[in-house]
């Protein structure tokens, strides 16, 4: 921050491969780097989930090559229970952090926030570059946990103490692996904090003339609000990880109480509380899941107006209000992850109230989306299809939350597959649908080539049906009491449910295979896709008023003047939309 360079606006393009594509300060390159990292991460996370699902459906299956991934975890290529838990931990960690926090926010946000507000770059381009490389370093550190000590941690992405806080005594992977995990996450927090600073400052300070806050598109609002949430949430996770490292490696007792007996020995810890970890983690964790969904919510709302050719019901104002309300409330509900944790039972009632209240802004938001589809003139390109699909899957995921928000019902459903169904629907499905929608929508702008619509539609249909086949049955499993995070189902009441698990596994593998269509489409587009026009979707926001891809400084140095908001669709006249930069006297204003 104490550098000699100007805060923004480089007028000369960088030279050389390294400056252009590796250590670039151009937000567009950085956005693509984040997206690329998320793409790598999602395929790794998906393969991990395949391994998990194979093991759950067919527990004694020897999976060829598995022993290569872990020396101890898969003797004879058959997964041990501890290795299942390690894969589960890495799956969750990779997906929540490196996919869902990366792609919709850091990926698309970095690329399009400056453009959508009319800026030539982010407020702090060099810090932006630093935040990507710190995130990348975090990813490498996390991946290294596969190869150190006795493998990755097995405490879940939630890393509850005391399983995670006593070192190797609690299980395989809990020695070096867990330490690498904690360091990786701490680094990730730093990267996100730096990113948040950039997003917030750019949104407030670098808007073009006429781009008032009210005229900003919903995507910009969503990224801005998410960055605000992240600023405070990651600032909580960072010290939590540091305290965890202190407990594990420096003998402190923040999370470890007295009187624990491990390996036949009474430990020397005293005075700590496992509940403290849960408080600290979930105070971050709940806002985090909103960080994961809000950008996708904004992206889908934005894309839906383009596909529907009409403005959003309630306009930017209502939807932004919903997002703001949800963001604000997200800090008050962390205890709903702790209803049964041993807190004073009154706290459960206390926490359930704001938790239930949060359903209101999300319900209103969904109603706005559905109300926008009413009376629309839908153009069913892939981006629009995924946006419509988002509405369906987000409803499914949100409804299950309704059950879990009530402590009396959570007594039964806690730690069952009902919870797994809930968070996968809202995060793994809805948020990913937002990422897909954004990809099909913005890829033409980002790389200047149109993606293949046929492949896109096949991808959508098979994925939409596939995700329901995977995750809807998990609700039924939860109703039957199927406990989660089990490496195998040996209890009497679980054995009859194994056929359902087999069905889910087949669906997961099939749906996973379908994603290679998407990957192929990306690859094919990059090298052989037809050239994209400036505005292939007849959209209004500022990114569509520049070339595909945009020039180095986004708008070629011209003075932008914004006269309209981003949702002038369905207007009378030769074209049914008004771009934000169109003259003020344009029809329908």
């Amino acid at each position: 921050m104490h550098d000699a360079q100007p805060a923004v606006h480089h007028h000369t393009a960088p030279e050389g491969f390294i400056a252009k594509y590796v250590f670039s300060v151009d937000h567009k390159v950085i956005g693509l780097q984040y997206y690329g990292l998320a793409l790598l991460a999602v395929f790794i996370g998906m393969v991990l989930s395949w391994l998990m699902r194979l093991h759950l459906g067919w527990g004694s299956l020897a999976i060829p090559g598995l022993h290569l991934l872990s020396r101890n975890g898969a003797p004879g290529n058959i997964m041990t229970p501890e290795y299942y838990l390690s894969l589960m931990t890495m799956h969750g960690t990779i997906m929540v952090f490196f996919v869902l926090t990366n792609a919709p926010l850091a990926g698309f946000g970095n690329y399009f926030l400056p453009i959508q507000v009319g800026a030539a770059d982010m407020a702090f381009p060099r810090m932006n570059m630093m935040s990507f490389w710190v995130t990348f370093a975090a990813f490498i550190t996390l991946m290294l946990s596969f190869f150190v000590g006795d493998g990755p941690p097995l405490s879940g992405w939630t890393a509850y103490a005391t399983l995670s806080s006593v070192g190797g005594a609690s299980g395989p992977g809990e020695a070096t692996g867990q330490t690498f995990w904690a360091i990786a996450i701490a680094l990730f927090c730093v990267g996100q904090l730096l990113g948040s600073l950039n997003f917030i400052t750019t949104t407030l300070d670098l808007r073009a003339k006429g781009m008032t806050l009210a005229r900003m598109p919903l995507t910009t609002w969503a990224w801005f609000i998410t960055a605000c949430i992240g600023l405070l949430a990651f600032a909580d996770l960072l010290p939590a990880c540091i305290l965890l490292i202190l407990d594990r490696s420096f003998g402190t007792s923040f999370f470890n109480p007295a009187g624990m007996v491990l390996n036949g020995q009474v430990t020397k810890y005293s005075g700590g509380s496992p509940l403290l970890w849960q408080h600290l983690f979930w105070f971050f964790g709940h806002p985090e899941v909103y960080i994961a969904i809000i950008p996708s919510f904004g992206i889908v709302s934005h894309i839906l107006t383009v596909g529907a050719r009409k403005p959003l019901l309630g306009g930017t104002r209502v939807m932004t209000g919903c997002i703001l309300a949800a963001a604000f409330l997200s800090y008050m509900v962390w205890g709903h992850h702790m209803f049964l944790s041993g807190l004073n039972p009154f706290s459960a009632i206390l926490f359930s109230v704001p938790t239930l209240i949060i359903t209101i802004p999300f319900t209103v938001g969904v109603l706005m989306l559905i109300g926008t589809v009413y009376g629309a003139k839908l153009r069913f390109n892939t981006a629009t299809l995924f946006s419509l699909g988002f509405i369906s899957v987000f409803v499914s995921g949100g409804i299950s939350g309704f059950f879990l928000a009530q402590p009396s019902i959570d007594i039964y459903l806690h730690a069952t597959y009902f919870v797994v169904a809930h968070f996968h629907f809202v995060m793994a499905v809805a948020s990913i649908f937002g990422i897909f929608a954004g990809t099909y929508f913005w890829m033409p702008k980002m790389i200047g080539r149109m993606m293949n619509e046929t492949l896109g539609k096949v991808h959508f249909w098979l994925t939409f049906i596939g995700v329901y086949c995977i995750f809807m049955p998990m609700h039924y499993l939860g109703l039957a009491g199927n406990v989660r995070r089990y490496a195998a189902f040996t209890d009497n009441f679980l054995v009859p449910l194994i056929p359902v698990h087999k069905f889910i596994t087949v669906a997961a593998l099939a749906t996973g295979a379908v994603q290679f269509i998407f990957l192929w489409n990306l690859f094919h587009t990059r090298f052989w896709g037809p050239k994209a026009p400036d505005n292939p979707w007849d959209a209004t926001s500022l990114e569509w008023s520049t070339t595909s891809p945009p020039p180095f400084d986004n708008f070629g140095g011209r003075q932008l003047v914004v006269n309209h908001d981003a949702y002038q669709y369905g207007v009378e006249g030769p074209k049914d939309y008004i771009m934000q930069t169109d003259p003020a006297e344009a029809a329908g204003d």
Binding site: H2, A7, T201, L213, L232, F234, L246
Partner: protein, 219 residues
């Protein structure tokens, strides 16, 4: 060379550096702040959360503790008071530096920055002196030689350690600021932005000192 832009009224002008410089009119920042100052405020907000989280955790465990320690006798408390006065004074000297910079009085500003660096260094030295005295008595981040709760030690060294880290970083930042302000690479806005960080570090101490020292005074 303009390194930042200010907002006065509805439209603001930005001058660019380098080849092809031209003015660009933008929307005014809603807080009337230049970007780096806004960024420092945001950083301070997140850092406040970090310290808040640690103080919360410490308090949570302290409230649940049955064997808390109260080791700080008169000498420690006095030392803490002196450190507090030093840090508060350093905020004053920092303020004087900012005022001098606003009047473009570079020499006076640098002098006040120098005093701030000196006071910050003395604070750090006093702090480390106290730490090593405690180490000598058998304290460590994982050990409480009085036999009471080890959380006392962990919390004390953890939180004051993090604060000390912020003080030392601040001293380093101020040193870099002084050098570059002298060279004209940085300007008065940077002086103000850095001062905000320094005041924040002082403000945190105003929480750390009562919570970690006064409330643990020997009874």
């Amino acid at each position: 060379m303009e390194s930042d832009f200010h907002s006065k009224g509805k439209d603001i002008e930005v001058s660019e550096s380098g080849a092809g410089a031209h003015a660009v009119i933008m929307e005014a920042s809603p807080f009337g702040l230049q970007s780096k100052k806004l960024a420092i405020w945001l950083f301070i907000a997140s850092d406040a959360v970090t310290f808040g989280v640690l103080l919360f955790g410490y308090s949570y465990l302290r409230l649940g503790s049955l064997d808390w320690s109260y080791p700080f006798k008169g000498a420690s408390i006095l030392n803490g008071f002196i450190m507090t006065v030093i840090l508060l004074t350093s905020s004053l000297t920092m303020l004087a530096a900012v005022i001098a910079a606003k009047h473009d009085d570079k020499r006076r500003c640098l002098r006040w920055i120098g005093f701030t660096i000196l006071l910050g260094t003395i604070f750090a030295v006093l702090h480390l002196r106290e730490w090593f005295h405690m180490f000598g008595e058998g304290w460590a981040i994982y050990k409480n030689p009085l036999g009471g709760s080890p959380v006392f030690a962990a919390g004390f060294f953890g939180i004051t350690g993090l604060h000390l880290l912020h003080v030392i970083s601040g001293v380093i930042a101020l040193s870099i600021l002084a050098i570059r302000y002298n060279n004209g690479v940085l300007d008065k806005n940077h002086v103000e932005t850095t001062s905000l960080y320094w005041h924040f570090v002082d403000l945190v101490w105003m929480f750390v000192f009562p919570i970690m020292y006064l409330m643990n005074a020997a009874r």
